[in-house]
C-alpha cells in the first residue's frame, strides 16, 4: 500500500497539472496482457541461421592451437567465425566517451582471461547443429595461474590478468592506480575522535537475471545495410560499439529495439550484437544469437563484487568527524563499465551525511572472472550497504537511536559535500522522520522538528584544509603506457571573487566543524583554513569528444 505525503515541500510544487502526476495506464500494458508486445526475438526471418560461441573452460590459459576443420564440415554449418575475422578485435565500451583503453577482444586471440570467454563462433541452420559443430572443435590450452581475489590481484607477483593494465588496476588520470577523494584531514580527526570504528564489508557479484536473456537478430537489409533487432538497453551505445568492432560506418547499421524483457544493467555491454551482425555479413543471411540461461547466469556480465573498508571517527555526542573509505571494485577480466562505477562510488562517499573530514581510495581491480558491468544502483548499492551498516554500528557505539543518529548527521541544504559541491534539494531528514512515524519508531521532539532546509550552510559550506598525497602513483610518475585514457587534468582553480570570500579564518582543530549538535546546541566554532571552492566546474582543456568516438576510429 502506498500513500503520497503531499504536505512535504508543498510550496515547491504546483500540484494541479493535467497529465503529470496522474495514474495513467501504461502505453505498453495492452500489448503485455495480450501477448502482442514485440521483443527483439519476436521477428520471423526466412532462412534464419543460429550462432553459438565456443567458451573457454579455463579461467586463465594461453590458446596454443584451435582446429575447426571437423566443425566446418559438420552438417548444417554455414560459417565458423574466428578472431581473425573480426575487423577491429579490440575495444572497451567506454571508448565511445573517451574513457579507458581498448582492452577486450570480441573473440579471444592468444589468451583467455575468464571461464566462459568466447573463442570462436559457429553459424548453423539450427541451434542443435551449432552445438554439434562446437563439440567438434579441438582447442589446446596452456592453463595459467589465475587470481580471483581483488586484494591478492594487487600484490606483487600476482598473475597479470589484463595486459593493458599490467598492475591489475585501471589507471585514473594517467597518474594513479585508483580514484581519490580528499576533503579535510581524516588522520587528525581520528586522533581527536572519541571512538574510531573500522570495518570490512563484502558484496558478491549479482546476476541481472532478466527473464529475457541477452540476444539479437541481424539481417542484411537494403542498400548494403544491416537491420539489427536488439535487446540492448542503449541503442546507439550498442550501434557505436558494433560499428567500431566491425569497422563499418555507423549508418550502415539500422538498430531496432526499445522493448526489452528486463535489463537491470545487464544489456549495456553489446554481448551479442557484434557477432550476430558479423555472422550476417559473412553469410549474407539473417543470424540470431541469443544467450541460453546458463550463459546468461555465468558468462553474461554480472554486477561486480565490491569490498569496502570503512573507518569512522565519531564523537560521544554522535557527530561523525571523519570517514575514510577504501573500496575495491572487482572488474573481472576486462574494464567494460567498472572504471566508471568506481568513480561514481567515490562521488557518493561519505553518503548523505555532512562529515568535515573525508578520504576515499576506490580501486577498479582485474581478476580472472566474468567481466562485471553496471547493475541497478551501479557503484552505489554496495557502498550504501556498507555505509548504512556502519552507521548502525556507530549509533550502537555511542548509544544513540539509529534514526536520531541519521538526522543528526544528515546533510542539509547549503552544506559542502566531500566532492566540493554544495548540497541542495536535500530530503533525507524528512524521509527518516516519515519512515519512523509510519513504523511507530519513537524519535524525540528535537529530531522531529529538524528539516533539510534549515541548519545547513554557513560554516558547513566551507571546504576545510585538505591533505592530498601521491600514493598509488602509476610506475612512480612514469606516464601510463598505451594511448591516453583521459585528457590532462584542468588548470588550477581560479580563486573566488573577493566578495564571496568567507570571513578571515582562525586556526581551529580540523574536526570541530559547526554542527547541528544534539540539544543543547554546542557553540558553532568557525571552520579551519578553507580552500576556495570553484564557482562552476572548470572545463579547461577538456574537449568533449564525440560521443560515438568517431574521432577514435
Amino acid at each position: 500500500m502506498l500513500e503520497f505525503r503531499k504536505e512535504f515541500f508543498k510550496d515547491e510544487r504546483d500540484d494541479n497539472l493535467n497529465e503529470v502526476g496522474q495514474p495513467r495506464q501504461r502505453q505498453d500494458m495492452l500489448g503485455h496482457v495480450t501477448g502482442r508486445t514485440r521483443y527483439f526475438d519476436d521477428h520471423a526471418f526466412e532462412g534464419l541461421l543460429h550462432l553459438k560461441v565456443l567458451r573457454s573452460p579455463h579461467s586463465h590459459a594461453r590458446l596454443r592451437s584451435i582446429d575447426t576443420a571437423a566443425a566446418e564440415r559438420a552438417p548444417g554449418v554455414k560459417r565458423v567465425i574466428r578472431a581473425a575475422d573480426v575487423p577491429v578485435n579490440k575495444n572497451t565500451l567506454l571508448s565511445l566517451i573517451n574513457f579507458g583503453k581498448d582492452d577486450e577482444p570480441l573473440l579471444a586471440v592468444d589468451k583467455v582471461r575468464y571461464k566462459g570467454e568466447p573463442i570462436l563462433a559457429v553459424v548453423a541452420e539450427s541451434e542443435a547443429a551449432a552445438y554439434d559443430a562446437l563439440a567438434k572443435v579441438r582447442v589446446e590450452y596452456d592453463p595459467l595461474p589465475a587470481v580471483f581475489d581483488v586484494e591478492e590481484a594487487l600484490k606483487p607477483g600476482a598473475p597479470v590478468v589484463n595486459e593493458t593494465y599490467p598492475a591489475n588496476t585501471f589507471e585514473y588520470h594517467e597518474k594513479y592506480n585508483h580514484q581519490k577523494l580528499r576533503f579535510g584531514d581524516v588522520e587528525r580527526a581520528f586522533a581527536q575522535a572519541d571512538f574510531v570504528v573500522e570495518e570490512r564489508y563484502q558484496m558478491s557479484p549479482i546476476e541481472h537475471a532478466p527473464t529475457e536473456t541477452n540476444g539479437s537478430i541481424a539481417a542484411p537489409e537494403t542498400n548494403d545495410r544491416f537491420v539489427v533487432h536488439s535487446s540492448t538497453q542503449a541503442l546507439f551505445f550498442s550501434l557505436g560499439t558494433a560499428a567500431k568492432l566491425l569497422d563499418v560506418p555507423s549508418n550502415r547499421l539500422h538498430y531496432i529495439g526499445g522493448t526489452v524483457g528486463g535489463g537491470f544493467g545487464g544489456k549495456v555491454d553489446s554481448l551479442t550484437e557484434p557477432l550476430s551482425i558479423l555472422g550476417a555479413m559473412l553469410t549474407g543471411r539473417p543470424v540470431r544469437y541469443v544467450l541460453n540461461r546458463e550463459e546468461e547466469m555465468l558468462y553474461g556480465c554480472p554486477r561486480g563484487a565490491e569490498r569496502h573498508y570503512i573507518k569512522d571517527g565519531v564523537m560521544r555526542d554522535g557527530r561523525i568527524v571523519a570517514r575514510k573509505v577504501t573500496s575495491y571494485f572487482d572488474a573481472g577480466a576486462y574494464t567494460r563499465l567498472s572504471s566508471y562505477g568506481a568513480v561514481k562510488c567515490a562521488a557518493h562517499i561519505p553518503g548523505p551525511y555532512t562529515i568535515p573530514n573525508v578520504c576515499a581510495d576506490v580501486y577498479c581491480v582485474y581478476t580472472n572472472r566474468t567481466p562485471a558491468t553496471a547493475m541497478r544502483g551501479f557503484g552505489i548499492t554496495g557502498v550504501d550497504f556498507s555505509l548504512e551498516v556502519q552507521m548502525d554500528k556507530l549509533a550502537h557505539k555511542v548509544g544513540m537511536d539509529p534514526m536520531e543518529f541519521r538526522i543528526l548527521n544528515a546533510y542539509r541544504d547549503g552544506d559542502m559535500k566531500a566532492h566540493r559541491r554544495e548540497a541542495h534539494n536535500c530530503a533525507l531528514i524528512e524521509c527518516v522522520q516519515v519512515a519512523a512515524e509510519k513504523a511507530n519508531w519513537p524519535i524525540s521532539d528535537t529530531y522531529r522538528r529538524m528539516n533539510s532546509l534549515t541548519g545547513g550552510g554557513g560554516e558547513r559550506a566551507v571546504i576545510p584544509a585538505t591533505a592530498t598525497d601521491e600514493n598509488g602513483r602509476i610506475g612512480g610518475g612514469r606516464p601510463a603506457t598505451g594511448t591516453t585514457s583521459r585528457p590532462p587534468a584542468p588548470p588550477p582553480r581560479v580563486p573566488l571573487p573577493a566578495a564571496a570570500q568567507p570571513r578571515a579564518p582562525q586556526p581551529q582543530p580540523a574536526m570541530s566543524q559547526p554542527r547541528v549538535a544534539p540539544p543543547p546546541p554546542a557553540p558553532p566554532p568557525p571552520a579551519a583554513q578553507p580552500v576556495k571552492p570553484a564557482a562552476t566546474p572548470q572545463h579547461g582543456a577538456t574537449r568533449f569528444s564525440s560521443v560515438f568516438g568517431t574521432r577514435r576510429r
Binding site: 553459438k52 552438417p75 541451434e127 542443435a128 551449432a130 552445438y131 554439434d132 562446437l134 563439440a135 541460453n292 546458463e294
Partner: protein, 273 residues
C-alpha cells in the same frame, strides 16, 4: 544428425529399442531429457517413447497401490488413495512441471532433486523393471536408487505398500525459496506405532547423498522408542550417520549436516517452522 523419435505400444518393445542403441534415451515426462537437448547435449541420437496405457495407470489394491512409471505428479495429486503421498508430490516443481514430471523420471533425478523418490524410499516401494528381453523384475527401490547409474531396462511401475495409518507417513522439504524451491534437504518418515512405541520406522533423506538414502542408524536408534523429545534423542544423535551431502549453489555440506538433526526433530515431533 537430427534426433529420431520412436514410439512403442508396449513397454517391452520400448525396453528392447532402448537396449539396442547406446545413444537412445527413454522420454518419460521430458523435464530432464528435453532440457538436455535444449542445452545442446549431443550424446543423444534417439528418443524412445511408450504409448502403453498401462504406463500411466494407478491401480489400487487392498495392501498396496501400483503406480505406473508414467504417472505424473498431477495424476498422484488427483488420486485419493495416494493422499499420503500428496505432501511430497505437491512440492515437486511448479504446477506446470507437476503436469509433466513422472514418477519414473523422479527416480533418476540427480540430487538435490528427487523428493518423490525420497518419499517412495521411506515407504519401501518395489520397482518393476522391464529388461530388453524376458519378463519384468521386481526390485526394492533402495537397490534401484543405488544402481540407477548402471541400471539397464525400463522402470514400468512403482508399487507402494499403504502406510500403517494416514498420519504415520510424514514428509518435510527444506528449501530456500517458497513455495517452490529446490531442496536443501528433504526427509520422509514412516512411523508406525505399536503401543505408543515406534516399530520398524523407516526414514529416508533427500539431498543428503548422491541419491535418496535410508537413515538406517536413526531407524535402529528409534526402534521401540516413544515419539517424544526424550524418545527420539538417540535418533537425533545418529541423524547424520551415513550421509554424504554435496555443496552446491543452495547450501554447503556443512550446513546440510548442521541443520539435518533440527529438521528431523521438527518432523518427528510435528513442530512447525
Amino acid at each position: 544428425m537430427a534426433l529420431q523419435v520412436k514410439s512403442f505400444g508396449s513397454m517391452s518393445e520400448a525396453a528392447a529399442a532402448l537396449a539396442s542403441d547406446r545413444t537412445a534415451r527413454f522420454m518419460s515426462g521430458g523435464t530432464l531429457l528435453m532440457r538436455a537437448i535444449n542445452e545442446g547435449d549431443t550424446s543423444i541420437s534417439m528418443l524412445v517413447r511408450s504409448t502403453d496405457a498401462a504406463y500411466r495407470q494407478i491401480r489400487s489394491e487392498s495392501a498396496r497401490i501400483e503406480i505406473g512409471a508414467g504417472a505424473r505428479m498431477v495424476d498422484i495429486l488427483a488420486n485419493r488413495d495416494l493422499a499420503f503421498l500428496h505432501p511430497a508430490a505437491r512440492i515437486v516443481g511448479g504446477p506446470a512441471v507437476r503436469a509433466m514430471a513422472t514418477v519414473g523420471g523422479n527416480l533418476f533425478a540427480a540430487a538435490p532433486y528427487g523428493d518423490l523418490a525420497t518419499a517412495l524410499l521411506a515407504l519401501d516401494a518395489i520397482v518393476t523393471v522391464q529388461g530388453a528381453y524376458g519378463s519384468a523384475q521386481q526390485i526394492p527401490i533402495e537397490q534401484l536408487l543405488q544402481s540407477r547409474d548402471r541400471a539397464t531396462g525400463l522402470v514400468t511401475s512403482v508399487t507402494v505398500p499403504r502406510p500403517a495409518s494416514p498420519d504415520a507417513f510424514r514428509f518435510r522439504k527444506v528449501s530456500r525459496v517458497k513455495p517452490k524451491g529446490v531442496s536443501v534437504l528433504s526427509i520422509a518418515a514412516h512411523l508406525p506405532l505399536a503401543g505408543g512405541r515406534l516399530s520398524n520406522a523407516r526414514i529416508a533423506y533427500g539431498a543428503m547423498a548422491p541419491t535418496p538414502i535410508r537413515a538406517r542408524a536413526v531407524e535402529r536408534a528409534l526402534e521401540g522408542r516413544s515419539l517424544d523429545a526424550a524418545g527420539i534423542a538417540p535418533g537425533l544423535a545418529a541423524a547424520t550417520e551415513g550421509t554424504s551431502p554435496a555443496t552446491d549453489a543452495l547450501a554447503t555440506a556443512w550446513y546440510r549436516r548442521e541443520v539435518l538433526p533440527v529438521h528431523l526433530r521438527r518432523l518427528l515431533l510435528g513442530e512447525t517452522g
